[in-house]
Subunit: 457 residues, 2 copies
């Protein structure tokens, strides 16, 4: 980091943290309509913050839900552009009695800043604003153009974002998208998330006789829908946990041996996981570590099952109907539509006699795989290393981040997930906090990134 | 039937039917506390009816629930005794709007008597009283002693009867127990039911991780309780419907070839059953007809299953718990305690890794098999034949009648199930009725039985 930028952030550290505390005092809970005004207040605060940072076109843009804040600075000599996404809304705070201090009265304790949104995602969004501000104030310019897209509905599934992005595709055009909303591996262990799992889902319904039957009068001569369902669903997986749907694994883009080597070097996760989940043993596909099973391998889970009598004791009934819900987590190479069809085909082929099958597909989401050969990725790990003394590792996440999928599909640019939160920082839970070590080193990392990025590497 | 007895019943037919109508007017619904007084009124009516029939010791005996009516006549030269069981309580009448005439305002229409209880079981109990009365009035005596046990809680599962029978074991001692509460095969097709299926039941609970898990973060590395449950329950039955629990079929007392010949001669039941249940195809154990599958073969049914998310749409959760309810219908030779243990052992041996199994046994009931070589059985079929022109066939029922099991276990005497109702007579449903043809021929059958029975055959 160049001297003048370092001076700026060091001299202004206290002021900036006070600004962040001010931002965190706004209870911008997007899920609760009572807080609609607060969410808007946080949007307006963000507008002012972007203006103060030196951005030239800053706008509060209306959506059918909470507003989007947009800002840009486009006077760079190099015409490449960095797009930065973040969100100013936060999760609800229940159960509020479990917080050691009120969620919207930020306190710094033991070099950690406690408040709802401190890490997810006001703190991390704020760092991006301050990094840009530091560069602009110290140098009078940025090495590249910048665009900020800061939304207020991330914690409720970004319902307005898909169409916003679609409608503002040209305005949002850039060369790389930078997001800080994923965790590091741990204290002092930076990570760039390079892959997310996608999803497909469906409802399975079996129907046998026209109504529930007396098990004495009819039992033995007619199919039992629940029994048929357990037999049908039992065919989906073998006893080792491998999915038996034909073609399920066919198009997976296998991670490189290099990637797997990185995952192996992260060390044993199994013991920790067993303790966390309170299970005697783990269960997963053979040949993969627990980390790999959740990061790079697909799943097929029965999320719910129901049919027949669920009350106390017994009822001698042959259930007419049986139901189940299935979701898959998909990895790069798997297409949600195709996988859904393969599952439907499998179910259809394995339905026992005497029942009728209906399948209803639900939500789908594409898996995400970052183009780690893009120069920005190497710049990012170096930027982390300069700040932390450790390069960022390329890791993955087992879950999905719907906005990432939207950006990937619509904006078609490399997406760089540079997180600064720690897994232990209680996102979405009581006593959310943010380690100031990662505020400082993160700011340094971001400035390093801005200063060293070259699109011609 | 001897002339003088015939004269008595013919001369008194109208009076007797009017008496029965009076009996049916009493809304003795044992399930509804509002009708407690009516149930008692029906018990008192029964006391009077037994007295009028000429029984000498008639008593209304209190129980913790509704009273039992007991009566006997013990002056026979032959010291053998016939015990007759019936019940004076009836089922509720909902939905009452579906009745063509009010359930407690009996009407005779087209030689059928319509009223709640007309067939089940006031009508059939009344016939036994009138048969004894006819013999006593015409001959001044009975060929054997008689004891009547008429209860008021059959339609609510006879909660007081077990201990009543146990406490009055000696008073109830007899050589044969006669019950008329099972259906004939059809119009003009009498039947003696010689076997009932028993039952055992259990709850199956699986527990995996300490709570429901996020399928993105953990999916692939940990057992899913619902998936484990479907795989576990899937092992209980093969694809042809044969139960895979080791030893399940081992001790079955196979019916004789003669019995199976009778069942075959009853004709095809499959087409009728498919229509009744509205299914494209039936499903059951190979090598047995639908009738045999429900009468002489055991079952294992999953009566209910539940776990995870049951709402609309999907929820990406890995359920921590999964539950199922199982009941078996058991046939003679199978012991409910033993079968329960075999199932528990099977489940224990097949539980997938990563989950903990708990099984909780519930209700049990012994299967019932009548000693058809006892002379009373031949007497009964002949008695039917003399009245109907058709001998009664020895058939079975797929369900259980708990009182029969109690009598079988405690009183240890041959139990003769001589029914006079028709399967079409809407027991427990709106427009219950009783064919007067079976009232007349049934009375004749019972008197024939009394007159021709010999314990020395």
């Amino acid at each position: 980091m160049s001297k003048n930028v370092l001076n700026f952030i060091q001299e202004n550290r206290t002021n900036h943290l006070n600004e962040l505390i001010e931002f965190l005092r706004i209870p911008s809970i997007s899920a609760l309509s009572d807080h609609k005004g607060d969410v808007r207040k946080a949007a307006e605060w963000t507008v002012e913050s972007l203006k103060e940072a030196g951005l030239t076109s800053v706008e509060l843009m209306e959506t059918p839900g909470h507003p989007v804040v947009y800002g840009e600075w486009s006077s760079a000599k190099n015409t490449h552009t960095i797009l930065i996404y973040g969100h100013y809304d936060v999760q609800p705070v229940d159960p509020v009695e479990l917080w050691d201090s009120p969620p919207f009265e930020p306190v710094i304790h033991d070099e950690k800043l406690y408040a709802r949104g401190a890490s997810d995602d006001k703190g991390q969004t704020f760092m991006h604003i301050k990094a840009v501000q530091a560069l602009l104030k110290a140098n009078g310019e940025l090495p590249f153009n910048v665009k900020f897209l800061i939304e207020g509905e991330e914690e409720i599934g970004s319902p307005s974002l898909d169409s916003f992005v679609e409608e503002n595709k040209e305005r949002l055009a850039a060369d790389v998208l930078l997001i800080s909303d994923t965790p590091m591996l741990g204290k002092g262990r930076p990570a760039v998330c390079t892959g997310l799992r996608g999803m497909c889902s469906l409802q399975v319904d079996l129907k046998g006789a026209k109504g529930d039957l007396h098990s004495g009068l009819y039992g033995g001569a007619v199919q039992n829908s629940v029994h048929a369902l357990v037999q049908l669903l039992g065919t989906l997986r073998d006893e080792n946990g491998r999915i038996q749907v034909k073609g399920f694994y066919d198009n997976i883009i296998e991670p490189t041996e290099e990637e797997r080597e990185v995952y192996r070097e992260l060390g044993d996760y199994e013991a920790e996981l067993k303790g966390e989940l309170a299970v005697q043993e783990l269960f997963g596909e053979e040949g993969y570590s627990a980390r790999e099973q959740t990061w790079i391998r697909p799943t097929l889970e029965i999320n719910g099952i129901y049919g027949g009598f669920q009350g106390e004791g017994v009822k001698t009934v042959i259930p007419s109907e049986a139901h189940a819900k299935i979701t898959c987590r998909l990895v790069p190479g798997q297409d949600p539509v195709e996988i859904t069809q393969l599952i439907e085909k499998h179910l259809d082929a394995h339905t026992p006699p005497g029942v009728t099958l209906t399948t209803t597909p639900f939500d789908k989401g594409m898996p995400f795989l970052a183009p780690t050969d893009h120069p920005a990725f190497k710049t990012a790990t170096d930027a982390y290393e300069a700040a932390y003394g450790e390069p960022a590792l390329f890791t993955r996440m087992g879950g999905s981040i719907p906005v990432v999928e939207t950006f990937d599909q619509v904006l078609k640019m490399p997406i760089l997930l540079m997180g600064f939160g720690l897994p232990s920082e209680n996102f979405h839970a009581p006593n959310e906090h943010f380690h100031l070590e990662n505020y400082d080193k993160g700011l340094e990392t971001l400035i390093n990134f801005w200063e060293t990025l070259s699109f011609d590497q």
